[in-house]
Amino acid sequence: MSETATYRNSYLVLILVLIACFFANISLGSVSIPLDEIFNSLINSAKNESWQYIIQNYRLPKAFTAILVGSGLGISGLLMQTLFRNPLAGPFVLGITSGASLGVALVILGAGVFGGFFASLLISKWTIVIAASLGSFLVLLAVLIVSSKVKDTMAILIIGLMFGSITSAVVSVLSYFSSAEQLQQYIFWGFGSLGNLSWNELAIFFIIYCFGILLSILSIKGLNTLLLGENYAKSLGLNIKQSRLLIIIATSLLAGTITAFAGPIAFIGLAVPHLTRQIFNTANHKILLPAVFLFGAIVMLICDSIAQLPASDYTLPINAITSLIGAPVVIWLLVRKRKMVF
């Protein structure tokens, strides 16, 4: 790995920052827990039982969720931006969020409109997770089937956007007929949330996430070849259709599970790849992929720490924080460097 060797120091710094952010994230919150107590609670047990409980059952799973969500969204954003050669692409261009929103909307809002079956559904967390997964899976399937009929990769981008429009229109119609309480519940889902995941849920999340990461790693060579454009890639022996499918499945696994478990978290998938490219100044995916993983996890941990509003009882919607913090950073980077690296 001679190419990655030159970046070893940068990786090392990022890993240290990630570890620091991880512990800061666990330490900060409505109750501030000192660092040495965190170590104690991880190794055997903390002096304070309620701290031990908070760390084990709330903050630790939340910190891990933040790492998975941030890195997963960053990587799927990177895959989409390269596949579509479009700096505005993100993990959700394939209609994954819109599908998940539709699924969740049907469960939460559908009760008011259809009654019957939907009303009998107990709206638990698992119902929402399953509805979101089913929704994004079905919309993605539709996008994939239609896409297999077109040759041009750009057409897939448009098809994904069109499916997004259709689903959001259906959600609008459902909202129109729903009660204020149901709407509020739906809107709260849309804020995104990293907490509330039990260790069991986290385990399922992690397994699917690993498959997504594995497929992303397998796509590295194809992604680098695609940097030349599809015609050159084909002349280099790349099977375009096969790599395209691999990239799309990797993205769906990552973005799909993240949306199912944590809600539609905006911005990270779009911004983190840009942030990484600006700082690492390369287009080589062998270097970018690990860097995006680290940056995504760090940014998500920082955003979550801020969203907890340390030393207060309030928690802000994570979806608002990611954009509030992230957007100025990307703008600042672009202005400072004066040249967009893509």
Partner: protein, 264 residues
């Protein structure tokens, strides 16, 4: 006959090219019989819309032929798998590359993709082939630059180096001299001529620089509305083939200088 056959890299027999839809076939050129010999620089010329690009697209298997046969190294072109074709034929296209944030070295290194492992790591052999390609194209000074910092002429040299790194018997270039000034047009074509001599590869390029091609090519393929002729530039001039290239109302071909003149 069998001896000359061995030196033929690419050969077409009664090839017809054009576009096929479900309803109809649109033939652009037919009865094409050409042979590209090893170690030759071959120029493909013809007016706009005559089918140069279609011919190149068909020879490189970007689009299917209508009828006839194409043999690459004595095997039918359509029997080649993507990866084997990539080891036999490399391309320089008119389109710009998607990401100009690659460094020159990285871009040329992508030419090694058909040979590298699943993640694309370069072996020592790969690196030495890349360095040879850099030396052959005289771009040592550009090696560490980013592609967006290069001029059109420099980028074209880099793209040629990338094709060289792909280590193929045949290199096909689609209009490599467009967007270049007079000096760089000659520079690029002279470079191709030098590479043919040094490496023994076969290089086919399409171009509108007919007078330059006449001076530099070993063989020329001339496409007109009625036929596709392939011969050495001298023979083609003697046969008056270039006179049939364009409508004669504006320009004529001057056989003594080997160039076109505007009609007064």
């Amino acid at each position: 006959m069998s001896e000359t056959n061995q030196h033929i890299i690419l050969k077409t027999e009664n090839l017809s090219i054009g576009y096929k839809t479900k309803k109809e076939e649109t033939s652009i050129a037919s009865n094409i019989n050409i042979a590209l010999k090893k170690g030759e620089l071959i120029g493909l010329v013809g007016g706009n819309g005559i089918g140069k690009s279609t011919l190149l697209r068909t020879l490189t298997q970007v689009q299917p032929k209508l009828s006839g046969a194409i043999h690459l190294n004595h095997k039918p072109l359509e029997t080649y798998a993507n990866i084997d074709l990539a080891k036999t034929m490399s391309l320089v296209l008119t389109e710009t590359i998607a990401s100009k944030n690659l460094s020159v070295f990285e871009l040329i290194a992508l030419g090694r993709q058909p040979y590298t492992n699943w993640v694309g790591n370069l072996s020592e052999k790969d690196i030495s082939i890349i360095n040879t390609a850099i030396q052959q194209t005289n771009i040592d000074n550009l090696k560490h630059k980013k592609c967006f910092e290069l001029s059109d002429g420099q980028l074209q040299k880099v793209m040629i180096a990338r094709a060289l790194a792909q280590d193929t018997d045949l290199i096909i270039l689609d209009e490599p001299t467009t967007h270049l000034d007079m000096y760089h047009k000659v520079y690029i074509l002279k470079l191709l001529q030098k590479l043919v001599k040094e490496t023994g590869k076969t290089i086919l390029f399409s171009s509108h620089e007919i007078d330059l091609a006449i001076q530099l090519c070993d063989t020329m393929i001339v496409m007109t509305k009625t036929e596709v002729t392939s011969d050495s530039p001298c023979h083609l001039i003697q046969q008056g083939t270039f006179n049939t290239l364009f409508p004669e109302d504006l320009i004529t071909f001057d056989a003594t200088t080997g160039s076109f003149r505007v009609k007064k």
